[in-house]
Symmetry: C2
Subunit: 431 residues, 2 copies
């Protein structure tokens, strides 16, 4: 796993050996990256090349954050047990985590992945309401389990008890009009579910609408939608796996931009800075309804090591005052991307806030069939330059930028100048 | 988190603060254990009391195993990334893991929990067969996701596409007769699913039938059942979350006692000695069928740290020659439990092999309503003596004994003498 003089041969050998993982695993980039070391916002490959990480939202307080690694190593060397024994760590972590939520959200359950958290949210919603209907957005992604694939139209057609509605990013009008339209869509879907004999149990939304194209409007989209689904007897589940832990700046949670208190909030990716942990924050009456009929035990969820890691991540985020820092750096990113959109002919719409951004790439001549190819070329070009971002979107032409939250203004500058160069380069190389 | 002079006050305070986890979390024992440190087969509580751990199957190579902790700390301090970048670690671990499987099982996919592995197994079974029918045993438990709760009758009634059959431990006759009966039940269930319009996609069994009462017969129960479901066009999924990694001795996998090669094998609990990791080992054609239509990405599954931890656990198990050691210590346990069954009036049937045992507790006067109370009293008594076991079973009267695999003959002696004492004690205290 250390650097070698013959890194290229290593890569081709590794690629061949990787068959043991089967064909469902995909690698990023035409020429895959082969990192062997990480530090803060940087990755280093086997050949010693350095990459600015503007993609990975999991190592939220930086790759190999020393305080987090230390907490992990220390607790693992002492004790790793589950929640059926008493332990100070998990209780302290739960208390500290809940300090960052509105007081009605007073209970937390621990899982290992965002998928498990969302899956549990559905189980609790079904149990608490006695209903099965679910409303999600048109291109939503909520996780990899069977039940979540059923409510994730970005993966496959949804199940019979699920209705999809257009996400706010696809609605047109003033912020107020968008919020009204979105609430009306919730209303319509709830009525349709009731007519079909599966009344609505929950509206579940990714609070940054990431897979729908990103929407982080400063308005009352979420609160009005929540009010609407509650009027129909359903509950509001905020999926904060993407948007949580200060990702959008100003607020700890993306729902914090709106005057809404969700019934349940699912947490994931950045919670352990890479350690497999996730959770569900919820209002006590819901879990009481669930706990009456169901027990819940997650072998690894909330174990003593995960609690120590989670606490260390919280400490780091608090120490850097993540909501404020992300807002500040995000403002620089916003200005830079906006400037680029005006000057680079291949940059289309820019959406985002804080350190979560989607940048549409478009063919300057408007040839839609070339949008995705250009986005791929820019991403691959950035990778060759030593800058990592992602490509996604329904048309495959959106650049995904969501770096560790320790990203500073100097990193924004590096990213934006590389992006400007690549936008220029593809105009000659691809077109 | 260190030992304190006032441990009792700590416990009552912690119990009150633990409300933040909600009522779905349950603690073991009338007086919960409050461990602050673990070492090999021992746990130590806040008051300094030592407990022999004869219950926890997750820390398979011992609590806080130094080699595993070292691998965890070392890799976490260097790099923790996902499977969309190339990395030697995950490939090496996959190769080393597959060395312990029959050659047809040539592919491995990584998840974070046994639930995620079983859930993925179902998704692949549905995709590969184009069918939805599932056969499980009558009191099966396969995990906590929605889809797994549907096939886990120990949690709740199964879904319409699921048939339950009696587990081998509940069938009567010679080993050969039991195998024939079990295969006939698979046949009948498959026919019933076909008649209902949901032909069988898979037979899924926990290979030690843990939640059904434990069955580890040395016979061809599994191979005949697998042949039967394949005749109906279904596949055979071996859930080795409980039975895997040498738990029953002699073999790395519990299915290894039989002449069967499963189509898929799910792994979990002990895989990372407490680190949240799990996986699915399968035959290439199955995952090719799945990979054609589906992508699979698990954010934390197969990350560089999990791979390093998994490798360290494999190294430890290989170093101690776990299948042989467990067989040897398990033999002593078998003899001791058998002797106890003959001498202690409250010990009923003893089932198990290696280091997985179920011991039925019964009222000496045959009063069935007291079986469970006696089992609870024995378990609580053992806890007071400093020995940890579990209680389970449909009637709540089965002691569950499944210690770390580093359990030695001296530990068996400690456990059995404590158990003999408690069996004696409850005859006076409870009856």
């Amino acid at each position: 796993m250390s650097s070698t003089p013959n890194a290229a041969a290593d890569v081709s050998d590794l690629l061949a050996r990787r068959r043991v993982l089967g064909p469902a695993y995909r690698l990023f980039y035409d020429e895959p990256v082969h990192p062997v070391r990480g530090e803060d916002v940087w990755l280093f490959d086997a050949a010693g090349k350095r990459y600015l990480d503007a993609y990975n939202n999991v190592p939220v307080v930086g790759h190999a954050n020393p305080a987090v690694v230390d907490a992990l190593a220390r607790q693992a060397s002492v004790l790793n047990t589950h929640t059926r024994y008493l332990h100070e760590g998990v209780v302290e972590y739960a208390e500290r985590l809940l300090e960052h939520f509105p007081s009605a959200l007073d209970t937390v359950m621990f899982t290992c992945t965002g998928s498990e958290a969302n899956d549990l949210a559905l189980r609790i919603a079904f149990e608490a309401t006695g209903r099965r209907g679910i409303i999600v957005t048109r291109n939503a992604y909520h996780g990899v389990t069977q039940a979540l694939a059923d409510v994730s139209p970005s993966l496959r057609p949804v199940a019979a008890h699920v209705r999809t509605i257009e996400a706010p990013c696809k609605l047109v009008g003033t912020p107020d009009q968008v919020a009204a339209q979105f609430a009306a869509l919730v209303d319509e879907a709830a009525r349709d579910l009731a007519r079909a004999g599966t009344p609505v149990a929950a509206l579940m939304v990714d609070t940054v609408f990431a897979s729908d194209g990103i929407y982080i409007g400063v308005d009352d989209v979420l609160s009005r939608a929540a009010a609407q689904v509650r009027q129909h007897g359903g509950i509001f589940i905020a999926d904060e796996v993407q948007g949580g832990f200060s990702r959008i700046g100003h607020h700890w949670w993306a729902f914090g931009r709106d005057n809404v208190v969700p019934d349940m909030v699912s947490l994931g990716k950045p919670m352990g800075n890479g350690h497999p942990m996730a959770g569900l924050v919820l209002q006590a009456p819901l879990v009481e309804a669930f706990g009456k009929n169901c027990r819940y035990f997650n072998t690894f969820g909330g174990n003593t090591v995960s609690a120590a890691v989670g606490l260390a991540v919280l400490n780091e985020l608090e120490r850097m005052d993540a909501p404020a820092q992300v807002a500040r750096v995000g403002q620089v990113m916003a200005q830079g991307l906006s400037h680029l959109a005006q000057t680079a002919p291949c940059i289309g719409t820019v959406r985002g806030q804080g350190l979560y951004w989607g940048v549409d790439i478009r063919d300057p001549d408007g040839n839609a069939s070339r949008h995705a190819r250009l986005a791929q070329a820019i991403s691959n070009g950035l990778r060759q330059e030593g800058v990592l971002i992602g490509v996604s979107g329904r048309q495959g032409n959106a650049l995904k930028i969501r770096p560790p939250l320790t990203f500073q203004v100097e990193h924004v500058d590096l990213l934006l100048s590389a992006l400007a160069r690549q936008c220029q380069a593809v105009l000659t190389s691809v077109l």
